[in-house]
């Protein structure tokens, strides 16, 4: 087991740098140098970090610092975690700084959410490259325990094994090793779904657009937050970086689903980035009396309007059945309903499962990784468990062949993707909420 006593986190004022500091300082009981360009920002990050793990007691493990202290911090550190801006050149520059000052044998990891870890490793000497690995934590790491580990072509296998075991046994992460591919695994699956939902919002803008699609794919479809509300929470700029990266650097049957709709680019250009700017796909208005109204962006008029309360019979039936614990009946209500909305919902669940398995075959360590990344990284119903919810592989396949459009089926090799899938280790029931 790695003995990590001191760690330096670069970019500790950023959200992930700050929150990951809390994970190392608490579960790892490590002394963490939290480095940013401004000591005041580092100090603020220390406070936020302790709150994120609900433990004041870790504060003595968190040392605010700046790049002026970098040399000394690195000289002491057993692990260096780089979490600076998601920009290749910025990370390369930081890597050079690390390279000049790091002590021999130190583990170096990057928290990149999708840049090539192999490319980033080129900043280092051959010796340092052996100790370099990607460690992609999910947000917020206290609740979302997934950590994707991405070895490069040069990562020492022994070090890789030690890093994985430290993350699992000491930091209590759900560790999934993935290949060095754009956005890795969880985000590739999750943002395929979300971006396609954005495309559907545009396509169905006359039916309501954004809130219409979110109401069709709400909590009752196996998630804690509807997909477009999720990306509004994540930030539309972050969404763009992820889907553009996947679109530009991968080529699979779902390639077109990663094209971000024009209206989202428009919102980003206007600085409407989502929850963090209080305006994006949704807009939160807080009145003087404290009451809150959520407005939604209307794609056609380009104006915000009050969020609609949609009433879909299929959704009502599913929710009523989930409420009483009749899961089989709920899925029957979905499959048996031929409305536009039920078709959209069913299509999304089917293609989510199919793409998850496809992507996992390409990127993951085994098929069950599909379940782990989506449960531990997104809190979405794990894909293999959805196959169980539909009644098993043969029923799922029959429904997919009956209900997915021919173009889609021509593009995917359904037999290859679905046939050998094992039963899920996850229980789907907790993910399907009786809430729209």
């Amino acid at each position: 087991m790695l003995n990590i006593k001191i760690i330096t986190i670069l970019g500790a004022n950023g959200n992930m740098g700050c929150l990951v500091s809390g994970i190392f300082a608490s579960f790892g009981n490590a002394k963490v140098y939290m480095i940013s360009r401004d000591i005041e920002k580092s100090k603020q990050a220390v406070q936020k970090s302790t709150q994120s793990v609900k433990a004041d007691s870790i504060i003595s493990n968190l040392i605010p610092a700046t790049y002026d202290d970098l040399k000394n911090c690195l000289a002491e550190s057993d692990w260096v975690f780089e979490s600076v801006t998601e920009d290749l050149q910025t990370k390369i520059n930081i890597n050079q700084l690390i390279s000049e000052n790091v002590k021999k044998g130190t583990v170096i990891s990057t928290g990149t959410s999708g840049l090539s870890v192999n490319k980033l490793s080129n900043s280092f000497s051959d010796e340092i490259k052996k100790k370099y690995v990607g460690t992609h934590f999910y947000n917020p790491p206290y609740n979302m325990i997934l950590c994707e580990v991405i070895p490069t072509d040069y990562t020492d296998p022994e070090l890789l094994a030690s890093v994985k075991s430290y993350l699992k046994d000491v930091l209590y992460r759900d560790v999934v090793e993935v290949k060095d591919t754009p956005a890795f695994l969880g985000n590739r699956i999750g943002f395929q779904f979300i971006n396609e939902a954005l495309q559907y919002a545009e396509r169905y803008r006359d039916n309501g657009g954004i809130d219409y699609i979110d109401s069709i794919l709400g909590q009752f479809t196996g998630r804690s937050m509807a997909p477009l509300a999720t990306t509004d929470f994540v930030g539309l700029d972050v969404h763009r970086a992820i889907v553009d990266n996947i679109y530009q650097n991968t080529l699979d049957y779902a390639h077109d689903s990663f094209v971000m709709p024009g209206f989202v680019r428009g919102l980003i250009e206007e600085g409407r980035l989502g929850r963090k700017t209080r305006c994006g796909l949704y807009q939160l208005n807080v009145h003087a009396d404290g009451s809150k109204i959520i407005n939604v962006y209307d794609i056609d008029s380009k104006e915000f309007r009050p969020k609609e309360k949609y009433n879909f019979p299929f959704a009502n039936k599913m929710i009523a059945s989930f409420r009483e614990g009749d899961y089989q009946k709920a899925f029957f209500s979905l499959v048996d309903n031929q409305s536009i909305e039920a078709n959209i919902c069913l299509t999304f669940l089917l293609i989510y499962v199919i793409y998850s398995i496809f992507a996992t075959k390409e990127v993951g360590e085994d098929i069950k990784a599909a379940d782990r990344v989506m449960a531990s990284g997104f809190n979405w119903a794990p894909p293999l468990s959805i196959i169980d919810a539909f009644g098993g592989v043969s029923t799922f396949k029959r429904i997919a062949l009956e209900r997915l459009d021919k173009d889609y089926l021509n593009r995917v090799n359904l037999d290859f993707i679905i046939d050998s899938v094992p039963a899920s280790d996850f229980d789907f029931r907790r993910y399907f909420k009786a809430i729209q």
Partner: protein
Amino acid sequence: MEDVLVLGGAQTDFERNWSKEGKSAIALLKETIDDSLKNVGISYGDIAELNERNRIACFVGNFLAEYYVNQGHVGALLTEVNPAFSGVPSARFEAACASSAVALDAAITKIRVCDYDVAIVIGWEMMKTVDSKICGDFLGRAALYEREAMGIDFPFPKLFGRLTDELIIKYNLDESRLMENLASISNINYANAKKNSKAQTRKWFMSDKQANQRGTATNPFVGGKLAVSDCSQVTDGAAMVVLSSQRFASEFNVRKEFPVVKGWGHRVAPIVFADKMKESKEIQYILPWTRQTVLDAYNRSGLTVNDIDFFETHDCFTSSEYMAISAFGLTEPGKEYEAIEDGRIAFCGSKPVNPSGGLIGCGHPVGATGIRMFLDLYKQISGNAESYQVKKADNGMMLNIGGTATTNYTFIIGKQ
């Protein structure tokens, strides 16, 4: 008298918040019963068939469904779970946080005297329907409400805070040492819960240091000297076990040797905490009726503390686990710190207490807790406790209490 065997069972994931999932008590019961029957290998058809011969009954533990989910007549709710329950004898049992121990007692008795062959025993509580302050007030009904809880915020942490004060006075304990011992109890339970895939706090952070830093923003005082880290949390959940007669078990699965109920104890102390303290003033044990309940189970089973390999105890607060250490006989009364400080009660110790994580780590859906403990005894003894399996598990004891150790229940389960 017939031997009573434990065929199996299941619990819900105590991390789940059923209100946030928008689900009803019926959904909670359906999942628990489906999972338990699957674990045991009994079908709803089997239940209907046993009922035709009047050989099966249901025993339901629940404390406050009327308050939390506006539902009374809780024993009859099972008829909503599956038509197979139509006509099956079923009733609800209540004794505050020991509700499901009373249900277990009734079920065991009915099988022992050969009234039935199979008993379905299920305990549940959905507590997250209200905020923590209201929840605390509801729970105040486990004390003498008008005198000990009405108009008081979080009455139970305060009552168990008083137990902490009384421990210091009675045994002339060094306060800082006691508080460190209580922090160790908390940390052990959190650490054990990390091994348990159904535990409420399995992803939460706790350390000796955090548990010892009381009175901070993240670990505020909630009752006298006790802070949040000393308390079990508000939990939703259910647990179920299936019990049977030896005769049924032999026909059901000849090759399997099921754990057997070896002993039990049930004593009720004065409901008012101050009266308990008055009563025990001249007695060695601070809660003598709790100790007596343990002795009753030892006497009935013919076993002693030396024969018990592990314990599941009612750590609703760290002070209640502290008190239980001597009640079990692990130490002399007043010397409970020995078993904490020498590592005896830790997971790898010689007498692990709460390998499941207990109420502090695993969770405390009050009406389910007794059965959850009983299920954990079964899991350990049958070798099915997975990553929290203790090394030696021939016999295990549980202590489930209601109120301020007012209702006391113990069971010993072991290998045949």
